[in-house]
């Protein structure tokens, strides 16, 4: 079982990203669950979403307390308390930031792998708005290999219709541009 | 015409869902015991204008084939509206004999 926690702000598409990843896993004939910690949805407010992935049927329906992977769609969220809570030892962190991974070692001391990508820049240049979720998905797929990048393309086409190509390009660019740092902990 | 007392049906015989499946079931309802007084139409004064027929809330005024207006006492509750409505004072309310 692989458990992922997504941190975003309302409007960035963290919930959608969690769903897209689960849908891609299911398309590859494995099992996944995507859900969010729903609250009063407001643009800009911090948002939590979760994806649970497994090779066998997932029975568990509680929240995720000890994620294997933490994805942060907005580096400013790193200053908030609790962003690294519960990360498993040698866990993975994927961040949207212009800074290198080494800058985040103090925030995620237990991380075995920290990856950064400037998803905001990619989103603004490709889409024209700072919706960073599909770019960060590309980076996440590169870092973890959870699904094939081609599968993501398929899901974007089903889900975004006329915006599919832009999202495909964003994910693929982030897939290439992500910087990964492995750490011995 | 006198309404016969219908025996109450058990739950298996009653129509499903608390419904009435036949039209006009209210004609079986005998209201004659409700009256304290009853309308008497003076056929000599009656001009056959039909006001009593229009105003009767129970539809208890009927028109005979020969054109005369009469009260169907099974349905008349003795409210006296026909008496008030009659333009020529051809209807008077008479106390019901007990």
């Amino acid at each position: 079982m692989l458990e992922i926690r997504w941190h975003g702000r309302g409007g960035q598409g963290a919930v959608t990203a969690a769903e897209i990843l689960a849908t891609a896993v299911i398309k590859e004939n494995r099992y996944a669950q995507a859900f969010a910690a729903f609250g009063p949805e407001r643009r800009g407010a911090p948002v939590l979403a979760f994806t649970r992935i497994s090779d066998s049927e997932i029975l568990l329906r509680s929240q995720i307390y000890e994620p294997d992977v933490i994805v942060v769609l907005d580096k400013n969220l790193c200053t908030m308390e609790g962003v690294g809570d519960g990360l498993k030892g040698r866990g993975t962190v994927v961040l949207n930031t212009s800074h290198p991974p080494a800058n985040f070692v103090d925030t995620f001391p237990q991380a075995g792998k920290i990856a950064t990508v400037n998803a905001t820049k990619i989103a603004l240049e490709t889409l024209g708005s700072p919706i960073t979720n599909t770019a960060i998905l590309g980076a996440l797929v590169k870092v973890t290999g959870i699904v094939k990048i081609d599968t993501l393309d398929d899901i974007f086409k089903e889900r975004f219709k006329i915006y599919a190509d832009k999202n495909v390009n964003m994910a693929r660019r982030a897939y290439k541009e992500v910087t990964i740092m492995e750490r011995g902990v | 015409m006198k309404c016969e007392k219908v025996p109450l049906k058990g739950w298996r015989e009653l129509p499903e869902g608390g419904t009435i499946t036949e039209p006009g079931s209210s004609v079986l309802f005998d209201a004659s015991a409700w009256r304290t007084s009853k309308p008497i139409i003076d056929q000599n004064k009656c001009t056959k204008c039909g006001l009593c027929w229009i105003f009767c809330p129970e539809g208890a005024i009927k028109v005979n084939p020969d054109g005369r207006y009469e009260v169907e006492f099974m349905y008349c509750k003795g409210c006296g509206i026909c008496d008030k409505a009659c333009a020529v004072r051809a209807i008077r309310m008479e106390e019901e004999e007990k």
Binding site: A18, E19, A22, T23, A24, V25, I26, K27, N29, Y31, A32, Q33, A34, F35, A36, F38, I58, L59, L60, R61, S62, Q63, Y65 | L8, K9, G10, W11, L14, E16, G17, G18, T19, I20, T21, E22, P23, G24, S25
Partner: protein
């Protein structure tokens, strides 16, 4: 068949579309769910040929459904929490008038404080309305059960409520295997029901039932839901056979030889099973029972399933303030009262207002159930996860 990723809400919407409903009447604003949002999309796109009636309240939604059902249409609505509560008086009318319809109820807490998250208070408050109440534990089960519900409602002429846990099922994406639309159409052919409101027939509905009649009329509805047990079982068995599923009025895990078990409803079932598996690895014979058909309560089957059990932990996700216990516990205790051999019951309330029931909470409840059984002295209802 290929699985796709769908939320519980969308799984229900797909089932309703495939069932080719004629009328959907729903209030579109909070606490409404994406079930009817998706259905209105299907109607607008021409994928579903139905009258979609946007009404101004849930009270009107249910009233419109009754009227539509009276004309012989296949009818669906969906609601949640306060919306269901607002339907309250009309729910009893739908059941007593014997109007077939299916409603998805996304289980959420009732105010106050205002809360949009999961618990079972909404449905439990409508327990006595005369509706058939089905409860599901996954998006797949929500889809399958909604399909079965149309068959059940049309055969029993009792309205059917399909309950799925708010967010935990309604908004969670997971694998769902959709049946081919053509196959579904064959399974529940769109045959018009009797149009009771046809101008060609004379028919009075919503009549006064004075004391000489009310009791008999009410008893008809009581008798109908009693008799619906066999219809529900028959339809479930047929569905299992046709579509390779394994649903039962009561879901079980490990109950062949279990000594201790948790009784759950809805989405709690999966996590309870994870913990039961944990205990089994430790050599303890643990099991899980989940009630799929809450109304009519499967009394006989339930008694069979718990025979031989030492301890049963009953998990309520709602409460009956001031009552002798909570809704599910009361039913269970009543079922077992007459039996000589019965398990020790330990009651729990947890997960109110969307409070997560963690694996640790489930472990606590299993442990408390074992302790209650072994010492034969259960504690008063335990509120698990409550901060002191």
């Amino acid at each position: 068949m290929k699985k796709i990723g769908l939320s519980g809400n969308y799984a229900v919407a797909h089932a309703v579309k495939m069932a080719d409903v004629d009328v959907v009447a729903a209030y579109p604003i909070t606490p409404q769910t994406t079930i009817v949002e998706k259905l209105s999309e299907f109607v607008a796109n021409g994928e579903l040929d139905a009258d979609y009636i946007n009404v101004e309240s849930e009270h009107s939604a249910m009233s419109a459904c009754i009227g539509a059902s009276m004309t012989g249409a296949r009818v669906f609505t969906a609601t949640s929490s306060q919306g269901l509560a607002f339907m309250h008086e009309v729910l009893f009318i739908a059941a007593a008038l014997r109007t077939p319809m299916v409603m998805a109820n996304v289980n959420r807490a009732l105010s106050a404080p205002l809360n949009i998250w999961n618990d079972h208070a909404d449905a439990m408050a409508e327990r006595d309305s005369g509706w058939i109440q089905l409860w599901v534990s996954s998006a797949q089960e929500a889809y399958d059960t909604t399909l079965m519900a149309f068959k059940m409602t049309e055969e029993t002429r009792l309205p059917v409520m399909v309950n799925l846990d708010g967010y935990i099922l309604s908004h969670t994406y997971e694998p769902v295997e959709l049946i081919e639309e053509e196959t579904v159409r064959k399974y529940i052919p769109s045959k018009p029901l009797v149009n009771r409101l046809s101008p060609k027939t004379s028919f009075s509905v919503g009549v006064v039932g004075p004391p000489e009649y009310y009791f008999e009329m009410k008893y008809q509805a009581i008798d109908a839901i009693e008799r619906s047990r066999s219809t529900i079982s028959k339809i479930t068995t047929e569905f299992n056979r046709s579509f390779e599923r394994s649903y039962d009025d009561i879901g079980t895990y490990g109950m062949d030889d279990a000594e201790y078990a948790l009784l759950t409803m809805g989405s709690m079932t999966g996590s309870a099973r994870v913990v039961a598996e944990e205990w089994r690895r430790k050599g303890i014979k643990a099991g899980v029972i989940s009630i799929r058909t809450f109304r009519p309560f499967p009394v006989e089957i339930f008694r069979q399933k718990v025979s031989g059990l030492k301890g049963l932990g009953v998990m309520d996700r709602s409460s009956t303030p001031g009552g002798p216990s909570n809704p599910l516990f009361c039913d269970v205790a009543t079922c077992l009262y007459g039996l000589k051999e019965r398990p020790v019951l330990q009651g729990f309330v947890s997960g109110l207002g969307g409070r997560d029931i963690s694996l640790e909470n489930f472990r606590t409840m299993f442990k408390a159930t074992m302790d209650a059984a072994d010492t034969k002295s259960p504690k008063p209802c335990m509120y698990v996860g409550l901060r002191e």
